[in-house]
């Protein structure tokens, strides 16, 4: 499909995530940042940091000195909190500032992915909150964007496992309606919480934070057969650095998300017309950070055997599958469609 934008326009696709936000641009740039924004907590912190605002990993690394915000909850802005709205604007501005270098005056057309279950009021709130940052903005369901980017628009099922939500979208050759989509709150964050609880229960004197748990998960998450080497982490126990084996806890925490995902997968498959069910079962695509959980694809594929078998593919680049899909939409949207959106 031909791109219809004027040559000076910067077209971007953004996956605004609870944990990480990614941007892909028509100029070929791709950037991902942690979805954290922090302001120095006091004058001393400002003096040390020499900055008024930190975003992403920098904010996370200096969190003790910051009023740190993770402004998105389940993929949406925490409504009612002015500071979080400001944080989302700063987060998006930060992403844009990275990709706009040398093109500061270029008008921006963006497609933004949001969770499948986002209500119209949520989308409008997001649109209002980001007013002024874009020339034109289209908001789409995140799994739809993934499907669009992968040309999987017909007879496919997208499972986008993020930090705040796991989004499902059954692609039937139409723009997905509520009945084609599901959102579960069982996602990366719930694994973190579960893992934190399990490790805390087993080693009550161990001192660790959710940020550490998140790092462990990102390095070693798995379902099914345990890795050859046990997962050993070092945590202070009564102040003494101690090695603990969390292999069992990691497996339990990660596998806790499998039953609800499988059940929702079955439920959506059952709603596909019988003549197409087999085709959909053979075209299930896992995207999002959850796609990086080892053995998750085979585990879900194994679960499909109960309903006649199928194929589960994990996208090659889960981090950018959403933003790349959004970019594809942005690039393909004809001028007339952008015009309908007004300023």
């Amino acid at each position: 499909m031909a791109a219809n934008q004027a040559s000076n326009v910067l077209t971007v696709g953004i996956d605004l995530g609870t944990s990480r936000s990614a941007i892909s641009t028509s100029a070929g740039e791709r950037v991902v940042v942690d979805s954290f924004v922090g302001w120095p907590a006091d004058l001393v912190a400002r003096k040390i940091l020499k900055r008024d605002l930190l975003v992403g990993k920098e904010a996370l690394d200096n969190r003790t000195m910051l009023d740190l915000r993770r402004p998105l909850e389940r993929g949406l802005i925490k409504e009612g909190s002015e500071k979080d709205i400001e944080a989302v604007r700063e987060l998006v501005s930060h992403l844009l500032s990275i990709v706009k270098k040398g093109k500061e005056s270029a008008p921006i057309r963006a497609v933004l992915g949001v969770p499948a279950a986002a209500l119209r009021t949520n989308k409008q709130f997001l649109r209002d909150s980001l007013k002024g940052l874009f020339d034109k903005l289209i908001i789409v369901s995140e799994p739809f964007a993934v499907a669009y980017g992968l040309d999987a628009l017909l007879h496919s099922l997208i499972i986008d496992i993020g930090a705040g939500t796991t989004d499902f979208c059954s692609m039937k050759g139409r723009y997905p309606t509520d009945e084609d989509q599901r959102t579960l709150t069982v996602a990366g964050d719930s694994i973190d919480a579960h893992l934190q609880q399990l490790v805390g229960d087993r080693w009550p004197d161990a001192d660790f934070t959710v940020f550490m748990v998140r790092e462990w998960k990102e390095k070693w998450s798995f379902v099914g057969d345990a890795p050859k080497d046990p997962i050993v982490v070092t945590v202070p126990v009564r102040g003494v650095p101690t090695e603990i084996d969390i292999t069992g806890e990691m497996k339990t925490a990660c596998e806790s998300m499998v039953p609800p995902i499988v059940e929702t997968m079955y439920a959506l498959l059952a709603e596909v017309s019988p003549e197409f069910q087999e085709r959909v079962r053979k075209n299930i695509i896992v995207a999002g950070g959850g796609g990086l959980i080892r053995n998750l694809g085979p585990k879900l594929q194994c679960a499909l055997e109960k309903v006649g078998g199928g194929v589960v593919k994990v996208v090659e680049d889960p981090t950018f599958a959403g933003s790349d899909g959004c970019l594809s939409i942005a690039k393909d949207a004809p001028e007339a469609d952008w015009d309908k959106l007004g300023k």
Binding site: R120, K123, F144, Y148, R174, P259, L341
Partner: protein, 336 residues
């Protein structure tokens, strides 16, 4: 290839239309059932509306004898688009640390699921859920009482109680904990244990289990708002979650000694009415699965039912002693 491009173009158009509708504050597309309904009745409804409009338009206006056609039709046909519903704005409530209140646990309410005319699920071997739950509840109650806790059972015989009756009994008894005992019914190949606390469900199967257990709740549609409020804004949530986790962990650990293939179906949230209306930390444990032949056989064995009661006791005991050993008011009597 051309087909894909055509499809993409159509989907793009629909995506943009959806955005424009959002900006205009229009309602989302109806669900399929709604579309079917309107498809079938839409033409009739349109016809009806037309005649209604005509009747209103031609209705004589008292006093001058003229018709009120213009304003009436304006109301029907030129209705301005509704403004976008304002995004609800609220301060997020801060989590309350119940530990800070240093509350004791003295009274435990044990609810044997179903009873009387409500059989619950029936196993392949003819065992009824209502009988299994009463037997386990009775064994558990005796064990808790022996340890110095005050126990109230919602039913001690084969009585029919609504869910509302059960929560009233628990609230009237000023229970500190509420445990509702149930036995699951799943597809025959499935088995295992799951423990619920109150909240919106996270998976379709949890909805199905809740719908099954919410039958004959005693509440009507008039109570919907109250129930939904309770489900979403319950301050007891964190304590109930910890209580559920403790019971689930204990059931799995203890019962796997006799039943090694027992599945961990997890700690889950679902909108159980009996949990919504109780005022104390409350959970619902599906302690076994009567629809599975092997588990049905085990449930027929008194020794296994005693093991379930013991495991539930251990879960309650572990929860009471989590973090704050002084939570049990009669610490002298309570040792395990």
């Amino acid at each position: 290839m051309a087909r894909t491009q055509r499809l993409k173009a159509r989907l793009l158009r629909e995506a943009v239309e959806d955005n424009v509708a959002t900006m205009n504050g229009s309602l989302p597309k109806p669900l399929r059932r709604g579309r079917r309904f309107f498809g079938r009745w839409g033409s009739l409804a349109t016809l009806g509306l037309f005649f209604l409009a005509l009747a209103i338009a031609l209705r004589p206006v008292p006093g001058n004898g003229a018709t009120a056609a213009e304003p009436s039709l304006l109301v029907l046909h030129k209705r301005a688009p509704a403004p976008a519903p304002a995004a609800e704005s609220f301060e997020r409530p801060q989590r309350l640390s119940v530990a800070a209140l240093d509350l004791g646990i003295e009274r435990v309410v044990i609810d044997a699921g179903h009873g009387g005319s409500s059989l619950g699920t029936t196993g392949a071997l003819g065992l009824h859920e209502k009988d299994v739950t009463l037997d386990i509840a009775d064994r558990l109650s005796r064990k808790l009482a022996a340890q110095g806790l005050r126990v109230r059972m919602t039913r001690q015989g084969d009585d029919t109680l609504s869910l509302q009756d059960r929560s009233n009994i628990a609230n009237d008894a000023r229970g500190d904990l509420f445990l509702s005992i149930h036995v699951n019914s799943l597809p025959p190949q499935n088995r295992g244990i799951e423990t619920y606390f109150l909240g919106p469900s996270q998976a379709p199967s949890a909805d199905a289990v809740a719908a099954e257990e919410n039958r004959d709740s005693g509440y009507s549609m008039a109570d919907l708002r109250t129930l939904v409020d309770m489900i979403y804004t319950d301050a007891r949530k964190e304590e109930s979650r910890r209580f559920a986790a403790s019971v689930q962990q204990s059931l799995l650990r203890d019962l796997r000694r006799q039943n090694p293939s027992l599945e961990d179906r997890g700690v889950k949230t679902a909108p159980f009415v009996v949990l919504a209306a109780t005022r104390m930390p409350a959970i619902l444990a599906e302690v076994s699965c009567l629809s599975n032949l092997e588990e049905a056989a085990l449930l027929g064995d008194a020794q296994y039912r005693q093991s379930i009661a013991d495991a539930l006791f251990n879960g309650i005991d572990a929860y009471i002693h989590q973090g704050t050993p002084a939570r049990h008011k009669e610490t002298g009597k309570h040792g395990s």
